[in-house]
Amino acid sequence: MSISRRTFFKAMGATAVALSVGKEVAASAEEMTGERPELYGVLYDATRCVGCHGCEYDCAEAHGLEYPDIPKNPPLRKTDEAHLTVVNHYETSKGSLPVKVQCMHCTQPACDAACLTQAMHKTEDGPVIWREDKCMGCRYCMISCPFDIPKFEYQSTNPRIMKCDMCHDRLKEGEIPACVYNCPEEAMMYGKRSDLIREARKRIHENPDQYVDYIYGEHEAGGTSWLYISAVPFEELGLKTSIQKKSYPGLTKGFISSIAPVDILLPLGLLGIYEATRSKPETIEED
């Protein structure tokens, strides 16, 4: 059991370089997903929504999915692989109120950080999209997403991850998301995230009786591209209010940044211990 020291250090140097390059790429990716003024998003005003479910049909049409089959007085539903958005009616302190659910398009998405093949991707203009040619179907995005948004086609032999993509294809052609475009009550507004926050503040300020003084999504999970304002506290609408205000990828930052030092220092330490514990006869033999 011996190795020429030169070979060993060569191998180690190569590893160190590979790892530090990896880290730089990681750092620039981090910057890319950081808060940028030109991120676009949608402001959803729950006080304007009448719960007609129209957006569910528009979404299905825009994504080539079957029209939803919505029963009268529907129970609380979740999004799934065939329904990328749903509208639920909640019994609240101000009567039965509708609320729309879809991907929140986080500024620093957990799914993007979790994805090991860059299939989940925060685009520079706002939407978090899923890219078919990259995904290997590990479903780690589903484990990581605090909003339980990515859904998987379990019944398919070539399954896709299905989630709202903010109509990324329509955006590329200069249009706006199908649900926003078709909403008869103009409950949704598409625009720059910073403008939307200003608009939300304005509405709350002008009608303080009509709204609770909070923009859901401004800080949740470090900020999301989809923003909510409402007449009742958000937990009454079934939105998760326990979501941390910091970004989710931040939770793994400590671990990921400790990898390179361990990869470089531990082999050196081990080599040192190996040298220290080597029994004498062997050393004489080698000399």
């Binding site: 880290k23 290997m136 019944q155 032999t157 990869d263």
Partner: protein
């Protein structure tokens, strides 16, 4: 000496394929209880695997949109990797700390580790929705370098290579390939050092996978120290597995061992028990610090709190005490019992984090389908069959051929 070597190589060239063919034939009895039980299960398992690829993952598993990782990941990967931790711990003890006493069980442990990793990756492939795209992790420009899973995957893959290198001298000895054996001996230390490093990182990385699931895992089980917790657990999980496997293989493959092997092995077991007691103590201390630091007292007074205490007292403190007393009194039976309790405890903890307390607030619970259990058993059985095939042929438990020492 030189002449002998030349004639030997000639001989090998002529008879190489004959030798391989003869080695492929089964050795030993065919109708053993193990074979009779494992064969039908493996056949059913293979059919289920076929159906999984024909009709999709949903056709054979109970996975759903809330529980995307079930038994195949929770047991085969998250638990199995901890069980395979014995390889890096023993390699560290023998090759780095120079503890020669443990050398007799090194090869079989490394082989076990390698096969475990090989078959757990197979289980992982079954669970991937689009397995062919795994190539995106290895080559191309799709590296998700900020992903914990990406780093785990690479450390996992490279470690499998390191294990293969660590075991390769046994293959060379089996094939009578002297020059190859000599070469493999020279690259050993590199494989050892990087193998240990890669292990520490992917063992902790498995815990780090769950860091972003902060809202989904019960606070008693979630902490920012999950990576550290997982790497400490892999020490006693791996060693307890070595104790159990060693005890079984010394019965099953008794004919492979020289005399003295029995006493030698018993003394090894006592040493391993000591390590387990120490590692369990370190783990317990870590868990207490995490518990106090997290101000988790309020969660104890509930069903989940009791479940947590059961895990901590019944499967950490209890085996720790048994290990402690059994190594002091050199009680082999107690060591084996403690090893089994430890292994059950590791299964319990890893299943808790990956399945049981994952989305603990949900009313509808995920219970693995019978197909998931059968496929898991199938993978374990195939692994044992391959392990047995190798041990019967290569110098794993028995001593290396004479020429290895001559050449050295």
């Amino acid at each position: 000496m030189e002449r002998a070597q030349i004639s030997c190589t000639d001989n090998k060239d002529n008879n190489f394929w004959k030798f391989i063919l003869s080695e492929l034939k089964p050795k030993g009895k065919i109708f053993t209880p193990f074979n009779v039980i494992s064969l039908p299960i493996m056949l059913v398992g293979l059919v289920i695997i076929y159906l999984r690829f024909r009709d999709g993952i949903g056709s054979v598993t109970n996975l759903n949109q809330e529980i995307p990782w079930g038994l195949w990941i929770g047991f085969d990967v998250v638990t199995g990797v901890a069980f395979a931790g014995g390889a890096y711990v023993l390699v560290f003890m023998v090759n780095i700390l120079n503890m020669k006493k443990y050398k007799p069980i090194l090869r079989v442990t490394v082989l076990n580790g390698f096969l475990a990793y090989l078959f757990y990756s197979a289980a992982l492939l079954l669970d991937l929705g689009r397995p062919l795209k795994i190539i995106n992790v290895i080559i191309g420009n799709n590296y998700g370098v900020s992903s914990v899973l990406f780093l785990v995957g690479w450390h996992f893959l490279l470690y499998m290579l390191a294990l293969l290198l660590e075991f390769s001298p046994a293959v060379a000895e089996w094939l009578n390939a002297r020059k190859l054996r000599k070469f493999l001996g020279t690259i050993g230390l590199g494989a050892v050092i990087f193998g240990i490093t890669l292990s520490v990182l992917h063992q902790s990385g498995i815990g780090a996978l769950y860091l972003m699931a902060i809202d989904k895992i019960h606070p008693l089980w979630y902490s920012e120290y999950l990576p550290l917790q997982f790497v400490v657990a892999s020490v006693f999980a791996g060693i307890a597995m070595v104790i159990l496997e060693g005890s079984i293989s010394h019965k099953v493959f008794a004919h492979q061992l020289g005399h003295n092997a029995h006493e030698e092995h018993n003394s090894i077991l006592v040493g391993l028990a000591k390590i387990c007691a120490g590692a369990l103590f370190a783990y317990l201390s870590l868990m207490i610090i995490v518990f106090v630091h997290g101000k988790d007292w309020k969660y104890l007074d509930s069903g989940w709190g009791m479940w947590y205490l059961l895990e901590m007292i019944g499967f950490v403190i209890l085996p720790m005490l048994i290990f402690y007393f059994s190594y002091r009194h050199k009680n082999l039976l107690a060591i084996r019992i403690a090893a089994v309790i430890t292994l059950l405890g590791v299964i319990l903890n890893r299943m808790n984090i990956s399945i049981i307390v994952y989305r603990w607030y949900d009313v509808e619970r995920y219970v693995p389908s019978w197909q998931e259990f059968v496929v898991t058993l199938t993978i374990i059985f195939i692994e044992i069959w391959v392990l047995r095939w190798i041990i019967m042929r290569m110098p794993v438990l028995r001593k290396s051929p004479e020429w290895v020492r001559d050449d050295h």
